[in-house]
Amino acid sequence: MTAQTPAAGRTGDLTRRSAADLAAALRAGEVTSVEVTQAHLDRIAAVDGAVHAFLHVSADDALATARDVDARRAAGEDLHPLAGVPIAVKDVVVTKGLPTTAGSKILEGWVPPYDATLVERLRAAGMPILGKTNMDEFAMGSSTEHSAYGNTHNPWDLDRIPGGSGGGSAAAVASFQAPLAIGTDTGGSIRQPGAVTGTVGVKPTYGGVSRYGLIALASSLDQAGPVTRTVLDSALLHEVIGGHDPRDSTSLTDPLPDLVAAARAGQGGDLTGVRVGIVDELNGEGYQEGVRARFDESIALLAAAGAEVVHVSCPHFDYALAAYYLILPSEASSNLAKFDGMRFGLRVVPTEGSITAERVMGATRGQGFGDEVKRRIILGTYALSAGYYDAYYGSAQKVRTLIQQDFAAAFEQVDVLVSPTAPTTAFRLGEKLDDPIAMYLNDIATIPANLAGIPGMSVPNGVSDDGLPVGFQILAPARADDRLYRVGAALEALLEKQWGGPLLDRAPELVAGHEPTHALQTEGTPR
């Protein structure tokens, strides 16, 4: 499994290791956080020219944290289990002293004066922040092509999209530039990039991770979560960032379930007594053949491991996408109103005519926002307008309730629901840029969880016939995030046993200094 790693000695190894392994090595004194952090900074320098996962690399800040952690460890201080393990943070998360743009020109140059709660928790745990990752502008998109700062490339095939909106975080983790990353998921922005890059992505229960300091897209749907290469790493990171925050009114007060224990339990590969429901509406037509084949094989593995597999129907999921594209733009149109050039970020002063606050706001928003953002602001403004509210926003909220009821009924029969994460593997850059509806359909399987506020996970479950990775989605009832980890870790263990190692070992190497090559159809494609 290390054959593809350049012979860069210890440093090369470090970027290939999981966060759990790195944490153990740091605790054992085998490596220092400065070494681990520097290895990742070197990797970023080597490959991010080709991938473009990062919008900002905060090397000084990361190394300062690493040195501090090393000194505290040397002094015998009791540190957090992940202390010294570096992380990348999606640029929609506010970071004090580090530029935060949400992928938009309208925030170019803005340096926030405060930290998001989850960033405070990362810092408190002593986790060096490597930088801020690329994303679709204001998290609107499924390909990261809507970033105002250029595409991110899929490490499996640099001509392809890395998913979105969190393509930067997924690509950074998939290309070993960071062992861990933070994503946010409003309709699938953690899980769909996870599926198309062969990484693990978790959208926690709504309210499970504080939204304080996430630049809001749709307040009732947004949720931050882990992007990692292993299920256990996601559990470790989820426990760092999760838990109640008094600064977020929608934050759950319940204590987090024991996620790491659930992941470790799952690694044994025994799912006896676990009831798994296949959502009929999230399979079949519109799903790529290879995606369906990998899904069926994964189901067979779960059944062989003792899971009781049944089919369930969630009839209202057919309306989920339509409801989502009314609720999201409505909330977004209001959330994005604050970007007006008055207090922070870009300010465009009209060169002709009178200079009034209204005209400055108009010019700033006209030049600062990209087309997809404008499209959704217009859609949302329309949906909330007097006379249309009931027909659009009101109806969408009713659909939302029906979807919640579908889930409630389904979870009376089963412990987890499963589906393919995304209908297809990564498409080519530019392929769907002119067809918003086709782009929106990428999130067809992930959106219902956001509408219902339940947790979801995408676990890599092989590559399709095109040699590109595929994801397996697991959904659990609200507050039962631990079930994702148990089932996800079991599936991961069963698959890796078949493959003889992690899926990402099959990804083509990105050789520093070389022009990126297309993904090769690997022989012995994991099935």
Binding site: V93, S249, S334, E358, L384, A386
Partner: protein, 503 residues
Amino acid sequence: MSTATTTLVDYDEAVARFDPVIGIEVHVELGTRSKMFCSAPTEFGAEPNTQVTPVSLGLPGALPVLNRTAVESAIKIGLALNCQIAEVCRFARKNYFYPDVPKNFQTSQYDEPIAFDGYLDVDLEDGTVVRVEIERAHMEEDAGKNTHVGGATGRIHGAEYSLVDYNRAGIPLVEIVTRPITGLGDRAPEVARAYVQALRDIFRALDVSEARMERGNVRADVNLSLRATPESPLGTRTETKNVNSFRSIERAVRYEVSRQAAVLDAGGTVIQETRHWHEDTGTTTSGRVKSDAEDYRYFPEPDLVPVAPSREWVEEIRATLPESPPIRRRRLQAEWGYADAEMRDVVNAGAVELIEATIVAGAAATAARKWWMGELARTANTEGVELAELPVTPEQIGELQRLVDSGRINDKLARQVLAGVLAGEGSPAEVVASRGLEVVSDDGALLAAVDEALAAQPDIAAKVRGGNLGPVGAIIGAVMKATRGQADAGRVRELVLERIAQD
């Protein structure tokens, strides 16, 4: 701004021919220590943009958290206005772009107010009581404050630039909306004023706001329409915004009655619009017409959870509510035995609490009123301050009156003692001691003074001895003078007469 050309109908004539209907929206700033949705402090008059957090500046990523004390204050207000308190209610976003609204939406309650369906009985000066029905009281946040610099008028037009101070942004407000108030006839202006005054008194009694009109703690929007008869359907209304003194409320209603009557008399129609109030001219001018009204695109605020005050909490709050100001006033008037006019003067002078405390400190009700509405009112008036701001406490006035009642000082001396107290010389007893102002009640000392006076004025002494008591006052006066007013004049008279009888 065509106020000069606006024709008006004489007010009395207008109300003789039209039936005015009013509706009032009052905003009160709550006196909470922190803002509605964040921990920023709320101190008045701080340096611009120092009382802010990422939340009240509307920075990306910031989220609101509701201030529990603000909710409690809103419930208090709702209960004091005899409202129902919602079991569950939500906040909404009112979307509009303006630089003083940091998020470009105001977080406000829309169709789910915390309090609704109440009433307030308002006392008019002549003792008439008018019931004002309250439609709703809801919570919202205040906007920042714009200062337009460089123009002649201080308004946005003609200004070179504008400054925004976000210290006020996010201060909690409660807005109280009446139902249309009908059947008032020519008393509409008086009722409008009395209603807002009554609210101000309630805010203070509840201790939810300092309720200082001059600071904009309480702001009123006055709706007014005219109709031909009380049986006619409601006419088209105008809404005069930001009328911020009691007197202006009364004037604004009068002005709109006269203006709308003129419009209707001329065969015109009243336009549904907001109107600006001009304090200097006592007039209103056209603002924004309803057809221009923005679509605020209200929707439930997804960053806040519904507010669900438990019934136990509401009852706890109800149990701690103070007596309502008008009921309390009626009770005190009865206890104190004041005439209606006397009580009204006491209320208008802001002396109710002062007199109450003075009585508790041992003074009779009549004496307490005499001090506060007499000597002290004159002093306050001269100095241009409120009664409560005088450097004397009700306890000191009570002590002063006890000194009078016990005969240790007389009324004339009491005024000197009070002057000493106001001058910071200490408590009444201390002033009596330090200035040596006690009544001379030692007969020996007085007799010596009497003998002296009789000896000094032998002619008068002779007349009195002759049975002519007329000039006795001259002798008494001389004794009082000799004792620097510290003698009890009645006792002096007795002693003079006794002395003469002995001769």
